[in-house]
Symmetry: C2
């Protein structure tokens, strides 16, 4: 198996990216080949610094870099020799089995759909994000790939999310919830109302509506919503720990006793919320394309990158892309 | 001034409701008259128990009760003698200046719009909810009154929210943000894109898009979105403290040392997050009707009820309903 890693994507690229990739190789005992895509000189410099010894890696040169601030569709056209475009092209050509990037999210999504193509039967590829809950984690999709959705899209997200949850998150018969503003089937906006009906006859383990307060409570394993709502909820969730930290710092300023309390609280929270860090989650998969793409946070650390590479490996060995194509074609997800 | 209080609404009605109302009277030194609406016998029983001495209250009998589980529109029709319908009717007739309820939210919203009527120039009344931030609080609307919105509605919410923020929250020239999935004006779903243009020419202090992560960070004072997104975000926010508590309890189970740490962490968080409790916020105002309605959480404590009554008093004395009618009529909030 060969996994391409975008060495240029992420706030601390290429250092932390190359480091995370090599760590994955080392920990796995060279179980796969890591293909580092990016500026050859820059990558080699990091490798010399980090020491790669007997590790099973290769480099594919890609002189252009798509920056975080670039407009996705424009950048893809104007930078055909960027690590994102080159990495996805060699994936499409079958030279690698997966592509992993912590770079410009919009560009990775667009280029994946454009270069790899949509899986048969899928009208909208989707990005799913694992979110921690009180009891484990849930998988929220769409995370922002599609702002305006139709009921059929949400039903497709549910199918893809269920496959991911059962194969990768190892949840048997995952409970699918529709994110909504009330428990009753009569609640919600037009999209939610129509999606409810479609999800009911999907053959999935649809448990009905889940509300905002149910997400972290772990009421469902797979939560579907449009990319507008999903993105807002996920970014809101991301801000919780920084807000707690800010409040504890303000509290610590009140005196020496308060400082001590705040320190203990911060340390305890860190331990009690272990697993709430995005680093452990191995990035967000783009589902519904002909291939495997894993998208990481711009601020990915080497630990996050390592877990993303392992996640890509799992997605390849579980043949997620094939499973999606195979199930979605057989289902009737059209609105009557 | 006379403020009607729905004595029957809320999980612990009438006890906690009557208690909170009387506390407001006592603290204010009988600055207004409290009109308790509900089952006379039940209310009198609580008053005897609590002791109301020289407090300036009266009772209006309303034998029916709209339950939390009742379907709002049906309940309003079938229970014309419920505390919600009676309380709003005496408000409409000018016998009281405001109506406060911690009862069935949907019923209070519908009955307010139906009985009081929409303010001139307002196409959709809206519920706004104050949310704590790192630096103070922001006002999010709509909180769930309107699931499917048009750009004009969001612009109206922005006007009403700005008036509330400047008059009641005492924020000069409140910054209005549009909840969206990116900072750039080209980001978002169809509703957000069109609303951006309209907000720009509203004459309000529109600061552009705010993302999910910006809400608690205090980037804007007034945040507008449709009631679907708003409701999901607000309910998600409500679940944060219970989730932290659940995680700390799990952590405490690991041993005596962990229990001690968890206790300190919980106590410190409680102090550091003071003001994050909904009880302090005085409920959620329904804006855009011909009158003053304050809606409270079903689980309102007497402290929450007291603050809701004070909030209603402020809304009356600041003539919020009049200010809204007066400004919204003068503005051009139509899509070209």
């Amino acid at each position: 198996m060969k996994i391409a890693l975008d060495a240029m994507g992420g706030d601390e690229a290429p250092l932390k990216i190359v480091e995370g990739g090599l760590q994955a190789l080392r920990e796995s005992g060279n179980r796969f080949e890591l293909v580092l895509v990016g500026r050859q000189d820059d990558i080699e410099k990091e490798i010399v610094r980090l020491g790669a010894g007997e590790l099973n890696y290769s480099i594919v040169n890609a002189p252009d870099v798509i920056e975080m601030s670039d407009t996705p569709n424009l950048a893809i056209k104007q930078k055909p020799n960027s690590s994102i475009v080159v990495g996805l092209r060699i994936h499409q050509e079958g030279k690698v089995d997966a592509f992993v990037s912590a770079g410009n999210t919009g560009a990775v999504m667009s280029a994946s759909t454009l270069i790899l193509g949509r899986a048969a039967g899928v009208s909208r590829p989707t990005v799913g994000t694992p979110l921690p809950t009180v009891s484990g984690s849930c998988f929220v999709l769409d995370s922002g790939a599609s702002s305006d959705c139709r009921p059929q899209h949400l039903a497709e997200f549910a199918v893809m999310g269920s496959i991911y949850a059962s194969e990768i998150m190892q949840i048997r018969n995952p409970r699918v919830g529709l994110l909504n503003i009330g428990e009753e089937r009569t609640k919600g906006n037009e999209l939610a109302l129509a999606s409810y009906t479609l999800l009911e006859k999907s053959g999935l383990n649809f448990i009905g509506n889940v509300e905002g307060r149910d997400i972290l409570m772990g009421k469902a394993d797979v939560i579907v919503t449009d990319g507008f709502v999903g993105n807002i909820v996920l970014k809101f969730a991301e801000s919780i720990l920084p807000v707690l930290r800010a409040r504890l710092i303000q509290y610590a300023d009140k005196g020496i006793f308060q400082k001590l309390q705040a320190l203990i609280a911060a340390r305890t929270l860190r331990k009690a919320l272990k697993g709430f860090s995005y680093e452990a989650y191995g990035g967000a998969p783009l589902l519904g394309v002909k291939g495997v793409t894993i998208i990481g946070h711009g601020s990915s650390t080497s630990l996050a990158v390592k877990n993303m590479v392992f996640r890509a490996e799992e997605m390849v060995s579980h043949r997620i892309a094939w499973l999606i194509e195979n199930s979605i074609g057989k289902m009737d997800l059209k609105v009557d």
